[in-house]
Amino acid sequence: MCLGSKKFRTFVSGYAGVSAITPHSAMNPKSLVAISDISKDEILRLLEVARYFEQNPNHKILDGKVVATLFFEPSTRTRLSFETAVNRLGGRVIGFSDASTTSSSKGETLKDTIKMVSNYVDLIIMRHYLEGAARYAAEVTDTPVINAGDGANQHPSQTMLDLYSIYKTQGRLDNLDITMVGDLKYGRTVHSLLMALRHFSPRFKFVACDELMMPREYMEICDKYNIPYEVHTDFSPEVINSTDILYMTRVQRERFSDIMEYERVKDLYSLHNDMLAESRPNMRILHPLPRVNEINPDVDDNPKAYYFEQARNGLYARQALICRALDIDVLNNQSHH
Protein backbone atom coordinates (compact mmCIF):
# COMPACT_ATOMS: atom_id res chain seq x y z
CA MET A 1 0.00 0.00 0.00
CA CYS A 2 1.23 3.39 -0.84
CA LEU A 3 0.86 5.64 2.16
CA GLY A 4 2.26 8.50 0.20
CA SER A 5 -0.55 8.48 -2.33
CA LYS A 6 -3.02 11.31 -2.32
CA LYS A 7 -5.73 8.98 -1.23
CA PHE A 8 -4.49 8.62 2.33
CA ARG A 9 -4.23 11.53 4.65
CA THR A 10 -3.03 12.27 8.05
CA PHE A 11 -5.64 14.29 9.77
CA VAL A 12 -4.87 17.90 10.52
CA SER A 13 -7.31 19.46 12.89
CA GLY A 14 -10.09 21.22 11.08
CA TYR A 15 -11.70 22.50 14.22
CA ALA A 16 -11.08 26.18 14.67
CA GLY A 17 -9.88 27.02 18.13
CA VAL A 18 -8.34 23.64 18.75
CA SER A 19 -4.86 22.76 17.69
CA ALA A 20 -2.83 19.69 18.38
CA ILE A 21 -1.05 19.54 21.72
CA THR A 22 0.23 23.04 22.22
CA PRO A 23 3.53 23.40 23.99
CA HIS A 24 2.97 25.10 27.31
CA SER A 25 4.14 28.69 27.09
CA ALA A 26 7.38 29.00 28.97
CA MET A 27 6.84 31.49 31.72
CA ASN A 28 9.75 33.19 33.38
CA PRO A 29 10.86 30.81 36.17
CA LYS A 30 11.16 33.80 38.48
CA SER A 31 7.49 34.65 38.14
CA LEU A 32 5.39 33.93 41.20
CA VAL A 33 1.75 33.09 40.61
CA ALA A 34 0.89 30.75 43.49
CA ILE A 35 2.68 29.86 46.70
CA SER A 36 2.63 26.22 45.66
CA ASP A 37 4.99 27.16 42.80
CA ILE A 38 7.89 27.52 45.22
CA SER A 39 9.69 24.84 47.18
CA LYS A 40 10.27 24.51 50.90
CA ASP A 41 13.92 25.52 50.52
CA GLU A 42 12.93 28.57 48.55
CA ILE A 43 10.38 29.58 51.19
CA LEU A 44 13.03 29.31 53.90
CA ARG A 45 15.45 31.32 51.83
CA LEU A 46 12.86 34.05 51.24
CA LEU A 47 12.27 34.26 54.99
CA GLU A 48 16.00 34.80 55.52
CA VAL A 49 15.99 37.56 52.94
CA ALA A 50 12.90 39.12 54.56
CA ARG A 51 14.72 39.10 57.89
CA TYR A 52 17.69 40.79 56.25
CA PHE A 53 15.42 43.54 54.89
CA GLU A 54 13.82 44.04 58.26
CA GLN A 55 17.28 44.89 59.55
CA ASN A 56 18.30 46.81 56.40
CA PRO A 57 15.11 48.20 54.88
CA ASN A 58 16.79 50.79 52.68
CA HIS A 59 19.17 48.66 50.67
CA LYS A 60 19.48 50.31 47.22
CA ILE A 61 19.87 47.26 45.05
CA LEU A 62 17.28 48.11 42.40
CA ASP A 63 19.16 51.10 41.03
CA GLY A 64 18.12 51.56 37.40
CA LYS A 65 15.29 49.04 37.62
CA VAL A 66 11.72 49.94 36.73
CA VAL A 67 8.83 47.98 38.20
CA ALA A 68 5.23 48.16 36.96
CA THR A 69 2.39 47.86 39.46
CA LEU A 70 -0.70 47.05 37.39
CA PHE A 71 -3.74 47.11 39.65
CA PHE A 72 -6.81 46.27 37.60
CA GLU A 73 -8.66 46.12 40.89
CA PRO A 74 -8.05 48.62 43.69
CA SER A 75 -6.13 47.43 46.72
CA THR A 76 -4.59 50.11 48.86
CA ARG A 77 -2.70 47.94 51.29
CA THR A 78 -1.09 45.55 48.84
CA ARG A 79 -0.23 48.23 46.28
CA LEU A 80 1.30 50.66 48.78
CA SER A 81 3.26 47.86 50.38
CA PHE A 82 4.71 46.69 47.04
CA GLU A 83 5.45 50.25 45.92
CA THR A 84 7.11 51.05 49.24
CA ALA A 85 9.19 47.90 48.86
CA VAL A 86 10.41 48.98 45.40
CA ASN A 87 11.13 52.52 46.62
CA ARG A 88 13.07 51.36 49.64
CA LEU A 89 15.15 49.14 47.35
CA GLY A 90 15.95 52.16 45.17
CA GLY A 91 13.90 51.18 42.13
CA ARG A 92 11.31 53.17 40.19
CA VAL A 93 7.61 52.42 39.91
CA ILE A 94 5.21 52.99 37.03
CA GLY A 95 1.66 51.73 36.84
CA PHE A 96 -1.96 52.34 37.64
CA SER A 97 -4.28 51.69 40.53
CA ASP A 98 -7.53 51.82 38.62
CA ALA A 99 -8.10 50.03 35.33
CA SER A 100 -10.75 52.55 34.25
CA THR A 101 -7.97 55.00 33.34
CA THR A 102 -6.23 52.49 31.05
CA SER A 103 -6.67 50.98 27.61
CA SER A 104 -8.31 47.93 29.14
CA SER A 105 -11.39 50.13 29.52
CA LYS A 106 -11.25 50.53 25.71
CA GLY A 107 -11.32 46.77 25.31
CA GLU A 108 -7.61 46.02 25.18
CA THR A 109 -6.94 42.41 26.12
CA LEU A 110 -4.89 41.57 29.17
CA LYS A 111 -2.37 39.91 26.90
CA ASP A 112 -1.82 43.09 24.90
CA THR A 113 -1.51 45.23 28.03
CA ILE A 114 1.07 42.84 29.48
CA LYS A 115 3.00 42.62 26.19
CA MET A 116 3.11 46.40 25.96
CA VAL A 117 4.19 46.98 29.57
CA SER A 118 6.82 44.24 29.25
CA ASN A 119 8.65 46.47 26.80
CA TYR A 120 9.23 49.08 29.47
CA VAL A 121 9.91 47.35 32.76
CA ASP A 122 12.02 44.75 34.53
CA LEU A 123 9.21 43.34 36.66
CA ILE A 124 5.41 43.35 36.60
CA ILE A 125 3.41 43.23 39.82
CA MET A 126 -0.24 42.68 39.00
CA ARG A 127 -3.57 42.49 40.75
CA HIS A 128 -6.58 41.48 38.69
CA TYR A 129 -10.24 40.81 39.45
CA LEU A 130 -10.33 37.68 37.26
CA GLU A 131 -9.19 34.32 38.56
CA GLY A 132 -6.21 32.87 36.72
CA ALA A 133 -5.26 36.26 35.28
CA ALA A 134 -1.81 36.13 36.87
CA ARG A 135 -1.01 32.68 35.45
CA TYR A 136 -2.06 33.84 32.01
CA ALA A 137 -0.12 37.10 32.27
CA ALA A 138 3.01 35.18 33.30
CA GLU A 139 2.59 32.92 30.26
CA VAL A 140 2.45 35.68 27.69
CA THR A 141 5.64 37.51 28.65
CA ASP A 142 9.30 36.82 29.38
CA THR A 143 9.27 39.53 32.03
CA PRO A 144 8.80 38.13 35.54
CA VAL A 145 5.31 38.61 36.97
CA ILE A 146 4.39 38.66 40.66
CA ASN A 147 0.77 37.92 41.42
CA ALA A 148 -0.58 40.51 43.86
CA GLY A 149 -3.96 38.77 43.94
CA ASP A 150 -6.16 37.39 41.16
CA GLY A 151 -9.79 37.43 42.21
CA ALA A 152 -10.54 34.79 44.82
CA ASN A 153 -7.72 32.64 43.51
CA GLN A 154 -4.14 33.26 44.73
CA HIS A 155 -2.29 35.90 46.71
CA PRO A 156 1.18 34.51 47.38
CA SER A 157 2.76 37.64 48.84
CA GLN A 158 0.11 37.56 51.59
CA THR A 159 1.14 33.99 52.32
CA MET A 160 4.81 34.98 52.47
CA LEU A 161 4.09 37.69 55.01
CA ASP A 162 1.95 35.26 57.01
CA LEU A 163 4.81 32.77 57.03
CA TYR A 164 7.30 35.44 57.98
CA SER A 165 5.02 36.54 60.84
CA ILE A 166 4.74 32.97 62.10
CA TYR A 167 8.48 32.46 61.77
CA LYS A 168 9.25 35.70 63.60
CA THR A 169 6.86 35.15 66.47
CA GLN A 170 7.51 31.45 66.99
CA GLY A 171 11.17 31.23 65.97
CA ARG A 172 10.35 28.39 63.60
CA LEU A 173 7.79 27.16 61.09
CA ASP A 174 7.73 23.48 61.91
CA ASN A 175 5.65 21.51 64.42
CA LEU A 176 3.25 24.30 65.28
CA ASP A 177 -0.39 24.18 66.36
CA ILE A 178 -2.19 26.39 63.86
CA THR A 179 -5.86 27.24 64.28
CA MET A 180 -7.78 28.79 61.40
CA VAL A 181 -11.08 30.50 62.20
CA GLY A 182 -13.93 32.04 60.22
CA ASP A 183 -14.43 31.67 56.49
CA LEU A 184 -12.34 28.64 55.61
CA LYS A 185 -14.34 27.84 52.49
CA TYR A 186 -13.77 30.93 50.37
CA GLY A 187 -10.81 32.46 52.19
CA ARG A 188 -7.88 32.25 49.79
CA THR A 189 -5.39 33.24 52.52
CA VAL A 190 -6.10 30.15 54.63
CA HIS A 191 -5.91 27.86 51.61
CA SER A 192 -2.56 29.26 50.51
CA LEU A 193 -1.21 29.22 54.05
CA LEU A 194 -2.23 25.57 54.41
CA MET A 195 -0.48 24.76 51.13
CA ALA A 196 2.72 26.51 52.24
CA LEU A 197 2.70 24.98 55.72
CA ARG A 198 2.28 21.45 54.38
CA HIS A 199 6.10 21.33 54.21
CA PHE A 200 6.46 22.04 57.93
CA SER A 201 4.55 19.32 59.84
CA PRO A 202 1.86 21.54 61.32
CA ARG A 203 -1.15 20.42 63.39
CA PHE A 204 -4.27 22.19 62.21
CA LYS A 205 -7.56 23.05 63.82
CA PHE A 206 -10.26 24.31 61.48
CA VAL A 207 -12.96 26.34 63.23
CA ALA A 208 -15.96 27.34 61.10
CA CYS A 209 -19.66 26.78 60.64
CA ASP A 210 -20.61 23.95 58.30
CA GLU A 211 -21.38 26.37 55.49
CA LEU A 212 -17.85 27.85 55.56
CA MET A 213 -15.79 24.80 56.51
CA MET A 214 -12.43 24.01 54.94
CA PRO A 215 -13.09 22.37 51.54
CA ARG A 216 -12.66 18.63 51.22
CA GLU A 217 -9.74 18.95 48.79
CA TYR A 218 -7.61 20.75 51.41
CA MET A 219 -8.37 18.13 54.03
CA GLU A 220 -7.29 15.54 51.47
CA ILE A 221 -4.02 17.40 51.05
CA CYS A 222 -3.54 17.18 54.84
CA ASP A 223 -4.20 13.45 54.67
CA LYS A 224 -1.72 13.09 51.84
CA TYR A 225 1.02 14.80 53.83
CA ASN A 226 0.10 13.08 57.11
CA ILE A 227 -0.88 16.37 58.67
CA PRO A 228 -3.25 15.93 61.62
CA TYR A 229 -6.28 18.22 61.67
CA GLU A 230 -9.35 18.72 63.81
CA VAL A 231 -12.63 20.16 62.64
CA HIS A 232 -14.57 22.32 65.12
CA THR A 233 -17.79 24.26 64.78
CA ASP A 234 -17.28 25.58 68.32
CA PHE A 235 -14.77 28.37 68.93
CA SER A 236 -14.02 27.04 72.40
CA PRO A 237 -11.38 27.86 75.06
CA GLU A 238 -9.91 24.37 74.57
CA VAL A 239 -9.16 25.20 70.97
CA ILE A 240 -7.69 28.62 71.74
CA ASN A 241 -5.61 27.34 74.64
CA SER A 242 -3.92 24.63 72.61
CA THR A 243 -2.81 26.93 69.80
CA ASP A 244 0.42 28.65 68.79
CA ILE A 245 -1.03 30.66 65.93
CA LEU A 246 -4.64 31.79 65.85
CA TYR A 247 -5.37 32.80 62.27
CA MET A 248 -8.63 34.77 62.16
CA THR A 249 -10.52 35.57 58.97
CA ARG A 250 -13.54 37.63 58.13
CA VAL A 251 -16.93 36.00 57.71
CA GLN A 252 -18.52 37.83 54.79
CA ARG A 253 -22.24 38.23 54.52
CA GLU A 254 -22.24 37.78 50.74
CA ARG A 255 -20.89 34.23 51.13
CA PHE A 256 -24.16 33.01 52.61
CA SER A 257 -27.06 31.75 50.57
CA ASP A 258 -29.20 32.02 53.68
CA ILE A 259 -29.06 35.39 55.47
CA MET A 260 -30.57 33.86 58.60
CA GLU A 261 -27.63 31.50 58.75
CA TYR A 262 -25.25 34.46 58.51
CA GLU A 263 -27.03 36.23 61.36
CA ARG A 264 -26.81 33.07 63.40
CA VAL A 265 -23.07 32.49 62.96
CA LYS A 266 -21.59 35.96 62.48
CA ASP A 267 -20.74 36.44 66.14
CA LEU A 268 -19.88 32.84 66.92
CA TYR A 269 -16.41 33.28 65.51
CA SER A 270 -15.38 36.60 67.00
CA LEU A 271 -12.54 36.89 69.41
CA HIS A 272 -12.67 38.86 72.66
CA ASN A 273 -9.85 39.63 75.02
CA ASP A 274 -11.30 37.57 77.88
CA MET A 275 -11.08 34.46 75.70
CA LEU A 276 -7.28 34.73 75.71
CA ALA A 277 -6.67 34.48 79.47
CA GLU A 278 -5.51 30.87 79.43
CA SER A 279 -3.83 30.87 76.03
CA ARG A 280 -0.22 29.84 75.54
CA PRO A 281 2.36 32.58 76.26
CA ASN A 282 3.82 32.24 72.76
CA MET A 283 0.40 32.34 71.10
CA ARG A 284 -0.11 35.10 68.52
CA ILE A 285 -3.22 36.28 66.69
CA LEU A 286 -2.95 36.85 62.97
CA HIS A 287 -5.48 38.32 60.56
CA PRO A 288 -4.96 39.28 56.90
CA LEU A 289 -7.03 42.49 57.47
CA PRO A 290 -9.29 44.28 57.02
CA ARG A 291 -11.21 42.99 60.03
CA VAL A 292 -14.76 43.84 60.87
CA ASN A 293 -16.18 42.31 64.00
CA GLU A 294 -14.30 39.02 64.16
CA ILE A 295 -11.66 40.56 66.46
CA ASN A 296 -13.02 42.86 69.12
CA PRO A 297 -10.98 46.06 69.53
CA ASP A 298 -10.37 45.08 73.17
CA VAL A 299 -7.92 42.48 71.83
CA ASP A 300 -5.75 45.14 70.15
CA ASP A 301 -3.82 46.03 73.31
CA ASN A 302 -3.12 42.41 74.22
CA PRO A 303 0.55 41.63 73.43
CA LYS A 304 -0.69 38.50 71.68
CA ALA A 305 -2.42 40.61 69.04
CA TYR A 306 -0.03 40.59 66.11
CA TYR A 307 -2.13 41.65 63.09
CA PHE A 308 -0.76 45.17 62.74
CA GLU A 309 2.87 44.03 62.91
CA GLN A 310 1.87 41.28 60.51
CA ALA A 311 0.88 43.93 57.96
CA ARG A 312 4.25 45.64 58.42
CA ASN A 313 6.01 42.34 57.72
CA GLY A 314 4.40 42.53 54.30
CA LEU A 315 6.97 45.12 53.33
CA TYR A 316 9.96 42.86 54.09
CA ALA A 317 8.32 39.79 52.59
CA ARG A 318 7.60 41.75 49.40
CA GLN A 319 11.13 43.12 49.25
CA ALA A 320 12.32 39.51 49.36
CA LEU A 321 9.89 38.47 46.62
CA ILE A 322 10.95 41.37 44.39
CA CYS A 323 14.61 40.37 44.70
CA ARG A 324 13.74 36.76 43.91
CA ALA A 325 11.85 37.88 40.80
CA LEU A 326 14.79 39.98 39.62
CA ASP A 327 17.28 37.22 40.45
CA ILE A 328 19.18 39.35 42.93
CA ASP A 329 20.92 37.25 45.56
CA VAL A 330 20.89 39.66 48.46
CA LEU A 331 22.50 37.44 51.09
CA ASN A 332 25.45 36.09 49.11
CA ASN A 333 26.16 38.75 46.60
CA GLN A 334 25.64 42.11 48.16
CA SER A 335 28.84 43.56 46.83
CA HIS A 336 27.92 43.65 43.16
CA HIS A 337 25.70 46.59 43.92
Binding site: F8, S13, V18, I21, L130, G132, E217
Partner: protein, 152 residues
Amino acid sequence: MTTSKKELAVAALRSGTVIDHIPSSMLFKAVRILGIENLDTQLTIGNNLESQRLGTKGIIKVADVFFPEEIINRIALIAPTAVVNIIRDFNVVEKRQVVLPDTIVGIVKCDNPKCISNNEPMRSRFNVISRNPVTIRCHYCGHTTTNDKANV
Protein backbone atom coordinates in the same frame (compact mmCIF):
# COMPACT_ATOMS: atom_id res chain seq x y z
CA MET B 1 -12.08 -14.16 12.17
CA THR B 2 -12.49 -11.95 15.15
CA THR B 3 -15.81 -10.42 16.07
CA SER B 4 -14.45 -6.96 15.45
CA LYS B 5 -13.63 -7.97 11.92
CA LYS B 6 -17.19 -9.25 11.41
CA GLU B 7 -18.61 -6.10 12.86
CA LEU B 8 -16.45 -3.85 10.75
CA ALA B 9 -17.16 -5.86 7.64
CA VAL B 10 -20.69 -4.46 7.69
CA ALA B 11 -19.40 -1.09 6.67
CA ALA B 12 -16.81 -2.57 4.40
CA LEU B 13 -14.37 0.21 5.07
CA ARG B 14 -11.42 -0.45 2.88
CA SER B 15 -9.11 1.91 4.62
CA GLY B 16 -9.45 4.49 7.33
CA THR B 17 -10.38 4.88 10.97
CA VAL B 18 -13.26 3.44 12.96
CA ILE B 19 -13.96 4.84 16.40
CA ASP B 20 -16.23 2.44 18.21
CA HIS B 21 -17.84 2.15 21.67
CA ILE B 22 -18.61 5.84 22.06
CA PRO B 23 -21.40 6.39 24.62
CA SER B 24 -24.49 7.41 22.63
CA SER B 25 -24.97 10.63 24.52
CA MET B 26 -21.42 11.70 23.66
CA LEU B 27 -21.35 10.82 19.97
CA PHE B 28 -21.97 14.27 18.57
CA LYS B 29 -19.68 15.88 21.10
CA ALA B 30 -17.00 13.49 19.89
CA VAL B 31 -17.68 14.49 16.28
CA ARG B 32 -17.31 18.12 17.25
CA ILE B 33 -14.13 17.57 19.25
CA LEU B 34 -12.56 15.71 16.34
CA GLY B 35 -13.55 18.53 14.02
CA ILE B 36 -14.60 16.18 11.22
CA GLU B 37 -17.75 18.01 10.13
CA ASN B 38 -16.07 19.52 7.11
CA LEU B 39 -14.19 16.49 5.86
CA ASP B 40 -14.81 15.62 2.23
CA THR B 41 -14.11 11.90 2.56
CA GLN B 42 -16.75 9.26 3.24
CA LEU B 43 -17.94 9.61 6.78
CA THR B 44 -20.39 7.29 8.52
CA ILE B 45 -21.83 8.20 11.87
CA GLY B 46 -24.06 5.73 13.65
CA ASN B 47 -25.79 6.15 16.95
CA ASN B 48 -27.92 4.18 19.41
CA LEU B 49 -26.51 0.91 18.10
CA GLU B 50 -26.73 -2.09 20.35
CA SER B 51 -23.85 -2.58 22.70
CA GLN B 52 -23.36 -5.26 25.32
CA ARG B 53 -21.03 -3.05 27.31
CA LEU B 54 -22.76 0.32 27.07
CA GLY B 55 -26.39 -0.56 26.30
CA THR B 56 -26.29 1.68 23.26
CA LYS B 57 -23.28 3.12 21.56
CA GLY B 58 -22.18 5.43 18.82
CA ILE B 59 -19.66 4.78 16.09
CA ILE B 60 -17.69 6.98 13.69
CA LYS B 61 -16.15 5.65 10.50
CA VAL B 62 -13.91 7.85 8.42
CA ALA B 63 -12.60 6.58 5.11
CA ASP B 64 -8.99 7.20 4.14
CA VAL B 65 -8.13 9.32 7.14
CA PHE B 66 -5.68 8.43 9.89
CA PHE B 67 -5.68 10.62 12.93
CA PRO B 68 -2.58 11.43 14.96
CA GLU B 69 -2.89 9.85 18.38
CA GLU B 70 -3.05 13.15 20.26
CA ILE B 71 -6.01 14.29 18.17
CA ILE B 72 -8.01 11.15 18.70
CA ASN B 73 -7.17 11.02 22.40
CA ARG B 74 -9.03 14.28 22.85
CA ILE B 75 -12.30 12.38 22.92
CA ALA B 76 -11.08 10.29 25.86
CA LEU B 77 -12.41 12.96 28.21
CA ILE B 78 -16.03 12.38 27.18
CA ALA B 79 -15.73 8.85 25.76
CA PRO B 80 -13.14 6.97 27.81
CA THR B 81 -14.56 3.65 26.54
CA ALA B 82 -13.93 4.49 22.88
CA VAL B 83 -11.84 2.09 20.86
CA VAL B 84 -9.91 3.14 17.75
CA ASN B 85 -9.51 0.72 14.86
CA ILE B 86 -7.12 1.44 12.02
CA ILE B 87 -8.21 -0.30 8.84
CA ARG B 88 -6.02 -1.04 5.87
CA ASP B 89 -7.23 -3.26 3.01
CA PHE B 90 -10.26 -4.35 5.03
CA ASN B 91 -8.02 -5.53 7.87
CA VAL B 92 -7.84 -4.12 11.36
CA VAL B 93 -4.13 -3.42 11.55
CA GLU B 94 -4.29 -1.60 14.88
CA LYS B 95 -6.84 -1.54 17.69
CA ARG B 96 -6.46 0.51 20.82
CA GLN B 97 -8.38 2.24 23.53
CA VAL B 98 -8.27 6.03 23.63
CA VAL B 99 -5.95 7.39 26.32
CA LEU B 100 -6.78 10.45 28.35
CA PRO B 101 -3.90 12.94 28.09
CA ASP B 102 -2.57 14.75 31.18
CA THR B 103 -3.56 18.10 29.77
CA ILE B 104 -6.66 19.09 27.80
CA VAL B 105 -6.28 22.23 25.73
CA GLY B 106 -9.04 24.15 23.97
CA ILE B 107 -11.85 21.63 24.46
CA VAL B 108 -13.52 22.31 27.79
CA LYS B 109 -15.02 25.66 28.72
CA CYS B 110 -14.36 26.54 32.35
CA ASP B 111 -17.55 26.77 34.43
CA ASN B 112 -16.21 29.68 36.45
CA PRO B 113 -17.52 32.89 34.83
CA LYS B 114 -14.75 34.83 36.59
CA CYS B 115 -12.02 32.66 35.09
CA ILE B 116 -9.62 34.54 32.83
CA SER B 117 -10.14 31.88 30.15
CA ASN B 118 -13.76 33.01 29.78
CA ASN B 119 -12.81 36.66 29.49
CA GLU B 120 -9.84 36.72 27.12
CA PRO B 121 -9.49 35.42 23.55
CA MET B 122 -7.44 32.41 24.65
CA ARG B 123 -7.60 28.63 24.79
CA SER B 124 -8.79 26.93 27.94
CA ARG B 125 -6.43 24.52 29.61
CA PHE B 126 -7.27 21.76 32.07
CA ASN B 127 -5.03 19.33 33.92
CA VAL B 128 -6.27 15.83 34.69
CA ILE B 129 -5.98 15.42 38.46
CA SER B 130 -7.79 12.10 38.79
CA ARG B 131 -8.58 9.39 36.23
CA ASN B 132 -11.22 7.44 38.09
CA PRO B 133 -13.55 9.25 38.24
CA VAL B 134 -12.10 11.61 35.66
CA THR B 135 -11.59 14.96 37.36
CA ILE B 136 -10.01 17.95 35.68
CA ARG B 137 -8.77 21.23 37.12
CA CYS B 138 -8.59 24.53 35.28
CA HIS B 139 -4.93 25.47 34.83
CA TYR B 140 -5.83 29.12 35.35
CA CYS B 141 -8.47 29.50 38.07
CA GLY B 142 -8.22 26.07 39.74
CA HIS B 143 -11.90 25.27 39.27
CA THR B 144 -12.43 21.50 39.16
CA THR B 145 -15.07 19.48 37.36
CA THR B 146 -15.75 15.88 36.37
CA ASN B 147 -15.90 14.60 32.80
CA ASP B 148 -19.67 14.05 32.87
CA LYS B 149 -20.23 17.68 33.89
CA ALA B 150 -17.48 19.23 31.76
CA ASN B 151 -18.70 21.90 29.39
CA VAL B 152 -17.41 20.58 26.04
